[in-house]
């Protein structure tokens, strides 16, 4: 979709809200019309921000994966490390990098909790993931509100 699509959806939302819904007598149907307007507005914003959000997500995921790789290397090298970095965590980070998707961070988080979130490396890693998730949810809120 293009910027024009965003404008079209936005105009549709306005038309439904301001011209169609007020003319509907039945209360349930009128509520449905207003809901349709709200949904069209959300979709308009989704189209508007799609490219920008996708680029930001890819950059965040790549940076996060790099941070994990550095942390793993440090943990591997440290003689005092209490426990080796679990294989499922390494695999989850690899998949997250390959997919270049925030959604793939779910597996990483599950692996971190499996390792034990109080482990210093896991705790730092969880904090790093949360920083990325905060930015992601803030972007999503631009659409949801």
């Amino acid at each position: 979709m293009t910027a024009d699509d965003h404008e079209m959806l936005s105009r549709l939302a306005d038309t439904v809200r301001n011209q169609i819904a007020p003319e509907v007598d039945d209360e349930y149907a009128r509520t449905q019309a207003f809901m349709a307007s709200v949904i069209l507005q959300r979709l308009a914003k989704q189209v508007q921000f799609a490219d920008e959000h996708r680029a930001a997500e890819s950059a965040d995921v790549a940076a996060l994966a790099d941070q994990f790789d550095a942390a793993f290397a440090q943990a591997d090298a440290a003689a005092e490390t209490e426990a080796a970095v679990p294989a499922d965590l390494r695999d989850a980070v690899t998949r997250m990098r390959q997919r270049s998707s925030i959604a793939a961070a779910s597996e990483v988080i599950t692996a971190l909790y499996g390792w034990g979130p109080s482990h210093p490396v896991a705790s730092a890693a969880l904090a790093a993931v949360r920083g990325v998730l905060r930015r992601d949810i803030d972007r999503r809120m631009e659409i949801a509100q």
Binding site: I39, R42, A103, Y113, I137, A144
Partner: protein, 351 residues
């Protein structure tokens, strides 16, 4: 579906089907007259009608205000709010001090009333929505008068004071102790999330991981309503005449309900808990009536569990629209409510 069941799917035909249904159960000498039928809930949950029934029998003439709740099979929380269970809970509550409607009949066969249904007493009272300004004004005025805040607190205390084993409510399932209650709730909402078909989000994985890792030990088990707030209680002459919406009840930690009263989510722009109770009054009166100390740390934990539950609700709701089970656009809109619930969870987790 039978002819009666088919007729009952049509609002106009429902009165006739109900008349026949009630005549059989009331041993009426003639037809049962149905009047004042009004459908009060559309789309989200169970279908609900209010009506009056009038009949005569050997004893004389009778009139009863009734309420019909019907499960269309495609409502929000349809798997969590079985009408048969609701009926059983209401029957169990009849011998307790909990203000609740008396349930008369449960009809599981959709061929009879068009869908599984309960017929229950219509309790006098009103139920203003706390999400609308008129509702908030209603509760603020009631708070000023001072009767409803006490009554609202007392009704919750009555729920928590129920001797649930004696009342026969252990059929709801009894947590085994330790952290089992919280873990069971997490598992229940996780199942709803899985079933929703929603792609989810890593914040949810974080939230679930955190909740499992910090699940509190539950000492005392009580009956828990699961959604105790204004909007889910009926009010008559400034008192709670009935606790409604018996859809999420469990045997569990009473702080689960208390957390729902304390949460900011259930009040907008007011310090009054659930829009109606001053905090100090709630604490004093609840603790005195139940002998249970309010544990704010456990309540804070349950606020996060509610964030998970909200996300699960909205995922399930959006899924109902997405898979074509329900055409209500209010459900479709909740696709974006998931984001709002997750944002709140992230904030409460400290990021």
């Amino acid at each position: 579906m039978s002819a009666a069941g088919a007729a009952a799917r049509d609002d106009a035909g429902l009165a006739g089907v109900l008349s026949d249904y009630l005549a059989e159960r009331l041993d009426a000498a003639g037809p049962v007259a149905i009047s004042g039928m009004e459908r009060i809930a559309v789309g989200w949950s169970h279908e609900t009608w209010l009506f009056d029934a009038a009949w005569s029998d050997d004893v004389g003439e009778h009139r009863q205000a009734l309420c019909l709740r019907r499960d269309p099979g495609n409502a929000l929380l349809r798997h969590e709010s079985d009408l048969g269970e609701q009926f059983q809970v209401l029957k169990c509550l009849e011998a307790t001090n909990v203000p609740a409607p008396r349930a008369f009949w449960y009809e599981p066969d959709p061929a009879v009333l068009g869908a599984p249904a309960i017929v229950m007493e219509r309790v006098p009272g009103e139920c203003p929505s706390p999400w609308r300004s008129a509702g908030r004004e209603y509760y603020a005025a009631a708070a000023e008068r001072g009767v409803l805040p006490a009554s609202f607190t007392d009704a919750l205390a009555a729920v928590h004071n129920v001797d649930w084993r004696a009342a026969g409510l252990d059929f709801l399932g009894v947590p085994s102790g330790g952290s089992d209650f919280a873990l069971r709730e997490i598992a229940k909402w996780e199942a709803l999330i899985d079933e929703s078909g929603h792609p989810g989000h890593p914040i949810l994985a974080d939230l679930i991981g955190w909740l499992r890792h910090h699940a509190p030990v539950t000492g005392q088990l009580t009956l828990v309503h699961g959604a105790y707030r204004t909007g889910n209680v009926l009010i008559h002459e400034d008192r709670v005449s009935a606790v409604l919406d018996w859809e999420l009840q469990v045997i569990g930690d009473p702080m689960y309900d208390v957390a729902y009263v304390l949460t900011e989510l259930n009040r907008e722009g007011t310090e009054l808990l659930s829009n109606v109770v001053p905090r100090h009054l709630f604490f004093e009166r609840y603790q005195q009536a139940t002998g249970i100390d309010i544990d704010e740390e456990r309540c804070a934990y349950y606020q996060l569990l509610y964030a998970m539950r909200s996300a699960a609700f909205w995922m399930s709701a959006a899924g109902l629209y997405a898979d074509g089970s329900n055409n209500d656009l209010r459900l479709a809109r909740t696709h974006w409510s998931v984001t709002v619930a997750l944002e709140r969870a992230a904030t409460e987790l400290g990021y």
